[in-house]
């Protein structure tokens, strides 16, 4: 069973617009991480938010976490064509330590 479920599955926006991706999960977590994957490559870590944090920023990225709703969101502001990629959330289980990924959100940013 996959713990991280992203929504939407696909998103297409114009350059300069903001992109919001959502993630829901099922169990207790230590932290929740977001990753990016360019086509055919490995995943790259973007940002980590701990279970006792509600919001975190890194450059043009903003992540929120609501542990009561077991959900998180990733906002990319002022998107660029180079942001075109797949984005995955990965809750880290506080019980097992495993990182479980969902299907991801495929983001296309049109120039």
């Amino acid at each position: 069973s996959q713990q991280g479920e992203e929504d939407p599955q696909a998103l297409s926006i114009q350059e300069g617009e903001n992109a919001t991706m959502n993630c829901s999960y099922k169990t207790s977590i230590n932290n929740l991480q977001w990753y990016r994957q360019n086509s055919g490559r490995g995943l790259v870590h973007l940002i980590l938010i701990r279970s006792n944090e509600r919001e975190k920023h890194s450059g043009r990225l903003r992540v929120t976490l609501d542990t009561s709703k077991k959900s998180s969101s990733l906002l990319i502001t002022a998107s660029r064509a180079a942001d075109t990629a797949s984005y995955f959330c990965a809750p880290r289980s506080s019980n097992t330590g495993k990182l479980i990924f969902g299907q991801g959100t495929t983001l296309q940013v049109k120039p």
Binding site: S1, Q2, N30, N31, Q33, Y35, G40, R41, G42, L43, V44, H45, L48, F88, A90, R92, S94, T96, G97, K98, L99, I100, F101, G102, Q103, G104
Partner: protein, 114 residues
């Protein structure tokens, strides 16, 4: 820089062959993971190791086994490869504990079983 290295970028094997996928990390990470990635299914965890000689099954362990004899190396074994194991395989590693536990990924091995 942390480096996670997978032994092959592309691999073609025949049905029934025994296949070894190797992964090496250089950051003294306790945790290592093997995932497979298929279109529409995202990343699915095959096996997880949290220490030398320790392993746990993930969501889809059937048809796979793993070996972790040394901390830096985590091998995925397909005992008898089948065409439905054609996929992209991704290895990752991370520290354990409740601190910074971001995972670092290898570049992936695209395995084709014919």
């Amino acid at each position: 820089d942390v480096k996670v290295t997978q032994s092959s970028r592309y691999l073609v094997k025949r049905t029934g062959e025994k296949v070894f996928l190797e992964c090496v990390q250089d950051m003294d990470h306790e945790n290592m993971f093997w995932y497979r990635q298929d279109p529409g299914l995202g990343l699915r965890l095959i096996y997880f190791s949290y220490d030398v000689k320790m392993k746990e099954k993930g969501d889809i362990p059937e048809g796979y086994s793993v070996s972790r004899e040394k901390k830096e190396r985590f091998s995925l074994i397909l005992e008898s490869a089948s065409t439905n194991q054609t996929s992209m395989y991704l290895c990752a590693s991370s520290f354990s504990g409740t601190g910074t536990t971001e995972a670092f990924f290898g570049q992936g091995t695209r395995l084709t079983v014919v």
